[in-house]
Symmetry: D2
């Protein structure tokens, strides 16, 4: 994403400062993509600041480090998969300094980031979004979904739907495996039929049936996202028994399979619960 | 499907007899598609017999009516979304008369049937399938998935995955609706992201957001299919807490929304449970 | 139970024949309790035949072994925790020979059996129950709950409610354990409050907190009972998302903890899913 | 509870001031039980202050109204069924003024309150509890369960276990009702067996089978308590699929049956989902 921003800055006569907790990473980025490595306080000179961190807690740390240094008129675009209530608190805190905040998480994975085709779901003031829309150089699709926090809420629900669809497919395949059905054949017809979803089309054939479970996104972070979805549901006074159940099952998978495993490895818990393998 | 079979028969110099409990329907089919309307006993002259009925119970009725009249060497292809244990019983019964049985349910909907592109998931003897593969004129994809009953098992799981994916998406959208998120925008990013599935891409935008719920497949039949999936899971000694919960919720939807409604109307129960609308 | 029947026979001038697949067990019983060890065909001389076996499948085996040998007027009382549909089939088969069938499972455990205070839930003809009520010497409470199969249905639901109550308590205690709450203290107030149930009052303090999990009833049999409850629910066209989910979780526990463990060891799976111990 | 405190004050030479948002209620209490009606600021003269309000939000309102007026050395005992995180925040705020805070919710219902036999589950400093233990005149049992917030956590789990046990029993009885089983008979054996719980022994026979659903505790408040339990689970990094599912179902019941109904009326949603009545 930062590489796309640096490319965009180069094309438009702007500058792209890059900060990372590990200075060497910023330096390497500057060398490779033409950005400028910066110390944290220097980023306050930017018109638009992008953050993309593991959780809202790390965003809070950066905001605390920059307290009192941000300039009025700045727009802060947080691409973290964060918590809606944190967004509302952060936006209110920044507004007191004249800084606008957009929660703008992305979907599309490492591939989409490199190709500049990420989907961005944006919460916050629509007029602020228009001011910075041209700078979202990493985006293939930008959608304004509602008020502050809405971007994070939609992202959490999106990821949890993926989690539900993957888990349910795992359960179904495990049951079929126990009856002797060929799972490659079963997936072939499911993907030609109405049972198909992103996990049946990509994750399960590529990561689970192959037994590779390559690490691209940590299971613990998906469990965190499902937990955010549970908070969204609770905070909205909504009733979502399936999402709540599945959020619990991914938390369980993080305990049993390991939070550092790839998220597709959640199906290893499904396998344990069924005494079989999905292969 | 029968129209495709009649067309195929015409092209290959064969005949296509059509039987329906309502003779007028068979006559109309004959006039429109060039098949031949037949009384039930006449179908016993066919080399391949296709059945496609609401449930395995109706297949049992037809088999009973034809008891003792089927000729050895006949292949019976049942395209019903039936029960695996019924398939095993029916296959065993027919085998005693020298008749082979394939459970061969289809996926793809009315559109796929008309276009001749249905996916067919076949359980039973692979050699028997090869004998009739050329006659599956309604199929775009034919996949042998395992022993007798496996086709029905895969079909039940496929439909239940669709049911899970639709229900979960309904829960997520209902929660987002309660927080003021624009659902069209939310679906746009979900469908560009990892949360996408067949229901988010087609059913919910076309049937639910529009409030149309057009009847193409009865909710009661989907609840039945989810019940078959529950039987498959139980019979396999498998553990599928999500599939089981969702099977229960569709049974509930059939009670509250009505078994005769379109299956997409299951989300009306999600709406009631959330005190909101998905629109 | 057989000891109580032998004592009753002694008091009323009757005889109690005892059959077991292992003759030595029948001989030992005869020596200890004054019953008479018998070969299977001899039991056909009895007016009332009691069976108490692991599952309905073993009852079927015994019935097959006795086919054609039972006398009209005999009453068969099956105390197995069996399947309602098996009861209906068995009752119909026996009725053809003039033998009446009552499904009469018991609750109360080994202690209740020794004390002669078991609760018996009876399905079948109420008039037949009255004929044998005096012979239910092992019962502290006999309740007619409905037609054939109803006794098994109520037993399956009873055991599944216990399973739900135990599992939910395990989940709650595991969560509290993770927050540092003293579980003995928590159970003390729960059992003085509205959260109490049979498992919180007896099983969890005696078997789980003590880490003893003494084997009195196999986890695999409880998982089987929950599966029967799922069949009852499905067969009734009922919607029971919680019972269905919990049935799945006990099947999972049988896979992960072991079907031969004590049923209280199901909470070991709860512990694994939570990365903590309930102690 | 306040009546017990007034009686205790009278016996020990102390005073019991009573404040209520509606002054007339305080006056009436004073006349009936010998307490003294007070304006809110007057309660700051007490050594021990008891609060018992619908939710932590109302406790916050009272604390705000008394900000800066509380005396060091005072002990605040909050008997609300509150939120653990609110307790931690409130305790920290009061500690700054030298006021100790105990979260001390109760269980036992109106009957237990009148009889002075409530169970009290206390979170906070054990030494502080010892200072006020003699003043907990409404308690039959006082149990220290852990640090600040632990009392609220245990209360939320206790109430949610009750909610699970009631819902599951409702599901089981609805399924049995659909098969024609006599529910009074079924409950009789369940309550003599292992399936028994507080709801099967009291709530369902007294409130549901009678179709009376008398209002003693609002369904909306139980849904709130289950939501607190979900927060406890999430905050603890625990995995509780059954508790989470049931929390969602009670939220749904509050939407469909009405938040102001008696909590036992949650089973009216079970009835709707099953197309039957529990009677």
């Amino acid at each position: 994403m930062a590489a796309q921003l640096a490319r965009h800055a180069g094309e438009t006569g702007g500058r792209a400062l890059v900060w990372n907790r590990t200075r060497e990473k910023a330096d390497a980025h500057a060398r490779e993509f033409g950005s400028e490595a910066a110390e944290l306080p220097e980023v306050t000179g930017a018109n638009v600041i992008f953050s993309c961190l593991p959780t809202s807690a790390e965003v809070d740390e950066v905001l605390t480090a920059l307290a009192g240094q941000l300039r009025p008129g700045t727009v802060w675009v947080d691409c973290t998969s964060g918590r809606p209530d944190a967004a509302r608190r952060q936006a209110a805190g920044l507004a007191a300094s004249g800084v606008a905040f957009l929660d703008a998480p992305v979907s599309g994975g490492p591939g989409g980031a490199q190709a500049g085709t990420l989907a961005v779901m944006v919460g916050g003031d629509a007029a602020v979004l228009e001011r910075v829309r041209g700078d979202l150089a990493f985006a293939g699709k930008v959608v304004h979904v509602g008020e502050t926090g809405s971007g994070f809420a939609v992202k959490a629900i999106n990821n949890t739907l993926m989690a539900v669809n993957m888990w349910a497919a795992g359960e179904g395949l495990a049951a079929l495996a126990r009856t002797g059905v060929d799972l490659h054949a079963a997936l072939e017809v499911i993907n030609a039929g109405s049972g198909r979803s992103y996990p049946t089309e990509t994750l399960i054939p590529q990561r689970v049936l192959t037994r590779e479970f390559p690490l691209t996104f940590q299971l613990g972070l998906l469990a965190k996202d499902a937990g955010i979805a549970a908070e969204v549901v609770q905070g909205a006074g909504a009733s979502a028994p399936v999402l709540m159940q599945v959020a619990a099952l991914y938390r369980a998978a993080a305990h049993t399979v390991g939070a550092e495993a790839d998220y597709s490895a959640a199906l290893k818990l499904v396998e344990q619960l069924n005494g079989t393998e999905i292969k």
